[in-house]
C-alpha cells in the first residue's frame, strides 16, 4: 500500500469540512480531527461552537494564566469563554442537540455505510468506553459530516455497503470527507455522490478502495 497517494492531510480534511460552515451557524465539533475544523473557519464566517457538556460559544484554548478547571469542552480540554458564551446544564445542552437546533456536527468514524449508517464508538473484543454524546449528536444535529481515513491501514474499505461494527446511528451521515475524496447526498433518502477528489487521486482509485455504492458527481460538477 506504500504507493497509494496520501491525498489530503488531516488539516486539509478539516479545512474542507470548515467550508461547509455557513455564517450564523451553530456547530458541534467532535474530539480529534474534527477539533481542527475550528482553525479553518473563514474570518468572515460567524460560527458559534457548542460543547455538549453545557457550553455554547467556545473560545480558544487558554493561555497558562487563563486556565480554569471549570471551563472544559466535551473532550475535557481546558478552553476559554467569549462575549457570546452561555453555560447550561447537560440536559439543556442535549435539548439543543436532540431538538435539531445545532446546524452542523463534524465527527470522526470507524465506518460509514452507503445508507448513511455510522459506526464510531466500539470495536467488539476491545474495551468499550461508551458512546459519550456521539449517539445524541448524530440523532439530533441537522447535518452530520464525517471525517475519516478513506481506507483502513490494511487497505480494507471503511466506506461500506453496511457497517460491520456496532452502530452509532442509522441513516445519519450527510457528508463524508476522507483523505481521498468528498461524498455528499441531497437528503437522507438519496444515495451518496462522489463530489471531489484529493490532488493526485483518481476516481478509479477511490472506487477500488470503497465498498459502498455511490454515484459519480464529478462530471456534473465539472459541467456546472
Amino acid at each position: 500500500m506504500t504507493d497509494m497517494p496520501k491525498g489530503w492531510s488531516r488539516d486539509q480534511m478539516a479545512a474542507r469540512a470548515a467550508a461547509e460552515i455557513k455564517d450564523g451557524f451553530y456547530a458541534n465539533l467532535g474530539i480529534g480531527i474534527p477539533t481542527l475544523v475550528a482553525n479553518h473557519i473563514a474570518p468572515d464566517i460567524d460560527v458559534t461552537l457548542q460543547s455538549e457538556n453545557g457550553m455554547l460559544g467556545l473560545g480558544p484554548f487558554p493561555t497558562e494564566a487563563e486556565v480554569d478547571a471549570d471551563i472544559i469542552n466535551a473532550g475535557k480540554q481546558t478552553i476559554t469563554e467569549l462575549k457570546r458564551t452561555s453555560y447550561c446544564s447537560s440536559a439543556d445542552s442535549f435539548g439543543m442537540i436532540r431538538g435539531g437546533h445545532i446546524q452542523l456536527s463534524v465527527l470522526g468514524a470507524m465506518e460509514v455505510a452507503e445508507n448513511g449508517n455510522l459506526a464510531n464508538w466500539m470495536v467488539p473484543g476491545k474495551m468499550v468506553k461508551g458512546p459519550g454524546g456521539a449517539m445524541d449528536l448524530v440523532a439530533g444535529v441537522r447535518k452530520i459530516i464525517v471525517l475519516m481515513d478513506h481506507a483502513a491501514k490494511d487497505g480494507s474499505a471503511k466506506f461500506r455497503k453496511a457497517c460491520t461494527l456496532p452502530l452509532t446511528g442509522t441513516n445519519v451521515v450527510d457528508m463524508l470527507i476522507t483523505n481521498l475524496a468528498v461524498f455528499d447526498r441531497a437528503d437522507r433518502s438519496s444515495p451518496f455522490v462522489l463530489r471531489e477528489l484529493a490532488p493526485g487521486v483518481t476516481a478509479e482509485l477511490v472506487r477500488s478502495l470503497t465498498e459502498a455504492a455511490y454515484e459519480d458527481g464529478l462530471a456534473t460538477r465539472q459541467a456546472a
Partner: protein, 235 residues
C-alpha cells in the same frame, strides 16, 4: 428554619447510606464532581453501590476512588474511558456497566426528578443500546422509550449556596449537577462557598432550594484537570 447545613460530609451523609443503594452523582469528567462527598462515601465503607454518573473518574480521583475500594457494583454511565481500575474490574466481571448515551442519561435524570417515568428519543435507535427497549413511531420516525431515573441519594457539587439550599453552579462545572439534584430521594450538596440569606439573586438560582435536603461547605476542591490544553500567548 429546618437546618440544612451540616458541619462535614460524615454528618451530611449520616443515615443515608445503605449497602446496595443507588447514588446519582453530578459532574462531567473530573469537572464539577462532589469531591468531598465522594471522600465521605469512601470513608463510610458502604458497598454494592449502583452509581449513576456520566463518567467513572480516574484511578485515584472522583468515583475512581470508590471503584478502587470495590464499593461500586454497577455503573450507569455514557463514557468510562479514563480509568484503568475500572477496565480491570469490568473485564474480570466484578463490575457491571450499563451504557446510556450522554444526552439520554442527562434527560433520564431530569425526567426522574420531574415525575416523568419514560420519554421517547431518536438517540440510539437501531443501535445495541436500544436493544430490548420498546420503540414507537411518531410521524413516521422511530423513537426508543427511555426511563426516568430516581436514585436513593444524589450528591452534587455547586459553586455557591445560601442556607435555604438554593444553588448556583459555575461555568461547565454545572453539567449534570442540576438534574442529579432533582432525581435523588435525598440530595446532598457540597459547595465552594456558603453565602448569607438573600445574597443569591432570585432570578439567577440554578437549583431551587426544594431539591436540596442537606448542604456542606466542600473541603476537597482539587478540581483536577484531565486535558490541560494551552495556547501560546501572542507576543
Amino acid at each position: 428554619m429546618a437546618e440544612k447545613i451540616h458541619p462535614d460530609a460524615t454528618s451530611a451523609l449520616a443515615g443515608l447510606l445503605v449497602d446496595g443503594m443507588t447514588i446519582v452523582a453530578g459532574g462531567f469528567g473530573l469537572c464539577g464532581i462532589p469531591e468531598t462527598l465522594i471522600d465521605g462515601i469512601q470513608a463510610s465503607g458502604v458497598t454494592g453501590i449502583t452509581a449513576v454518573s456520566n463518567n467513572a473518574g480516574v484511578d485515584d480521583f472522583g468515583l475512581g476512588k470508590l471503584l478502587r475500594t470495590r464499593q461500586i457494583r454497577k455503573m450507569i454511565s455514557s463514557y468510562v474511558g479514563e480509568n484503568k481500575e475500572f477496565e480491570r474490574q469490568y473485564l474480570s466481571g466484578e463490575l457491571e456497566i450499563e451504557f446510556a448515551p450522554q444526552g439520554t442519561l442527562a434527560e433520564r435524570m431530569r425526567a426522574g426528578g420531574a415525575g416523568i417515568p419514560g420519554f421517547y428519543t431518536r438517540t440510539g435507535v437501531g443501535t445495541v443500546l436500544a436493544e430490548g427497549k420498546e420503540t414507537k413511531e411518531f410521524d413516521g420516525e422511530t423513537y426508543v422509550l427511555e426511563r426516568g431515573i430516581v436514585a436513593d441519594l444524589a450528591i452534587v457539587k455547586a459553586w455557591k449556596a445560601d442556607p435555604f439550599g438554593n444553588l448556583v453552579f459555575r461555568k461547565t462545572a454545572r453539567n449534570f449537577n442540576p438534574m442529579a439534584a432533582t432525581c435523588g430521594r435525598v440530595t446532598v450538596a457540597e459547595v465552594e462557598e456558603l453565602v448569607g440569606p438573600g445574597e443569591l439573586e432570585p432570578d439567577m438560582i440554578h437549583t431551587p432550594s426544594v431539591f436540596v435536603q442537606r448542604l456542606i461547605l466542600a473541603t476537597h476542591n482539587e478540581k483536577r484537570i484531565e486535558q490541560r490544553t494551552i495556547r501560546q500567548e501572542a507576543a
